[in-house]
Symmetry: C2
Subunit: 359 residues, 2 copies
């Protein structure tokens, strides 16, 4: 018999040490009013002396079916959450809403398929899950619904039975493109972040434009091209560069390609401010002036957009609000509410110094 190895103490250990039942020890921790103060003290002291740290969280979750945690599914690795400025703002909004409810936030890393692996989802301990901009029909999404967890999606198409927060991305893109058209531009370039979750960076072929799984990329690209078509610019003549993410360096790389083409575009439509900042850098690298030689429009309106050189004309979307709303929805679902109708947030064009009339 090796029953003398030092096993972790459990409720039972404490119960038999004190000479009461397991239920009473449980009550000592969870319902102080169910037993006398003196017994409770005796129990807690015995527990301490035995090195018992209180009810095991996992066992407790198993019994209560609650985890006191909000899950968040990311489209990429964990670090995007802390790296991408616009995502951080959304998450700040989400976090400040969830804060004060004593819930943890469980970040679920995505991988190169554009979201967490289904296995990651099935292991994650959360009571409600928020999905941020995953590709349509990501396996992670079905994994959540298979588990029957309430789901809030941000920047995704309608998924039945889930709450949803969305922004008018195609409207925003049209705003940006129309602005440039109104300034007389006719040679455009489009810089977008990932259309497909395969890590590709480079010029976008027609076939690649066909079925784009990321709703945001799809809507922005479509919005740009629609507006340009309406303005008399044939979509097939507009070069599109796909960056694998939304980083500044990626934008710089794409813009360099764009700005060294012949003919050189006089206006760059960028799907995010980060890409646009990279484009500003690329222009500097090439000795081009913005907006003298090329106009640049971003998307998001992160704080830096107002202080960049030059300040960036961009499409403002209410990032913090988006996160707050998602947080509120998550809390509602947590409380058992049915998913309400989707809220659509508005966007607007913020005109700054990075655009000028075409010469």
């Amino acid at each position: 018999m090796d029953s003398d190895r030092p096993r972790r103490p459990t409720l039972d250990t404490v119960a038999s040490a004190v000479g009461v039942s397991r239920a009473t020890v449980s009550n000592a921790y969870n319902r102080p009013d169910q037993l006398s103060a003196s017994l409770r003290t005796r129990i807690l002291e015995t527990a301490r002396s035995l090195g018992y740290a209180g009810p095991d969280p996992v066992a407790r979750s198993l019994a209560t079916r609650r985890n006191a945690a909000v899950g968040l599914m990311l489209p990429q690795g964990l670090s995007v959450a802390f790296t991408d400025p616009s995502l951080s703002i959304v998450l700040d909004g989400l976090a400040s809403t969830v804060d004060g409810h004593d819930h943890c936030l469980v970040l679920m890393p995505g991988n190169d398929t554009g979201g967490p692996r289904p296995e990651t989802v099935s292991r994650a301990q959360a009571d409600v899950v928020v999905a941020y901009s995953l590709p349509d029909s990501a396996p992670a999404l079905s994994a959540v619904s298979a588990r029957g967890l309430p789901l809030v999606v941000i920047d995704q198409p309608v998924i039945s039975g889930t709450a949803r927060v969305e922004v008018d991305d195609s409207g925003g893109a049209r705003l940006a493109a129309s602005h440039l058209l109104a300034l007389g531009h006719s040679r455009f370039g489009i810089l977008t972040f990932a259309l497909h979750p395969d890590g590709y960076r480079g010029p976008v072929s027609c076939s690649r434009r066909a079925s784009i799984p990321f709703r945001v990329s799809r809507d922005r690209l479509t919005g740009y091209l629609d507006a340009l078509e309406n303005g008399g610019v044939a979509a097939e003549n507009v070069p599109v560069w796909e960056a694998s993410g939304s980083g500044r360096e990626l934008g710089r790389e794409g813009a360099r390609w764009m700005l060294t083409r012949t003919p050189r575009p006089s206006a760059l439509l960028c799907a995010s401010d980060q890409l646009a900042f990279g484009a500003l850098q690329a222009a500097r690298d090439l000795g081009l002036s913005v907006p003298g030689d090329v106009s640049v429009v971003g998307f998001d309106d992160v704080p830096e957009a107002s202080v960049s050189d030059p300040p960036l004309t961009t499409v403002r979307q209410p990032l913090a609000e988006k996160g707050r709303l998602a947080g509120q929805l998550a809390l509602k679902l947590l409380a058992g509410a049915r998913p309400p109708r989707a809220t659509r947030l508005d966007v607007s064009l913020i005109s700054r110094a990075s655009c000028a009339p075409s010469k």
Copy 2:
């Protein structure tokens, strides 16, 4: 009997539907090699048709004693993680190390006591916990060790049995103060973030300086004052403003107070770059020139420090490295290693344009 309510299917449900034992169904999910392919297929199909989403994560964790999650204890609400630039960089480093190991990151919110509540900790489902700059002897820390979870501390004093990453904060502070002394300054002001986790903002009394629970604040403040004393400046004559956090607005507020005193300090020592940026703003507000009228030194060297107006002289600490190291330690502890010796990271002074010789 109300046994006809639709309970969620479990392993047993599937097992009896297929006519095998629970163990076999479990094997179908976890050890495909333990049963024939055909039986496995049959099991998985039955499971699907019953709406069974696979083994319950909580029950599985209970049985395996593993959660596939890394916990992170924050000194404040969840949103600091996405809001504070220097913290975000640390977390990026941490996250990129943990990424690829299929672990979730569980963010545990702190409250106004300077860390997560012990209850939050005892409920959190994680296999290892990282603590970021909590006050000494925070209840959350004992809660972790009570649970017997491996712990990595960042920016904290020695805690026996835990792995640790630290930076030479007092050395960095001395560097900053010596630099200003060397420039001939003699009237100083110190701007620090929270010394105590009570939300106080304002001038710091002597008693408040006595026992400071935040190691980082304590070491930086001590470092500043030590160096000043060595330079012949009496510590008791140096005004200290405590901001409740590290935000820019908080720095602006403190610097305004500092710069409207008589005599006005000619040099401001700021415990973070964010506070320093606020100080730059306060100087602008008051029509003072930096470094003409007042010199400002920060701490951290976040990216913005090199592009602020004026570029900020600051103490560089390896933020990303700090996070990466913490991540590596967490992974090691996860693998069962003993906590290695603490690693101490070096700091250096980055001299930019925000300091000038005293007139």
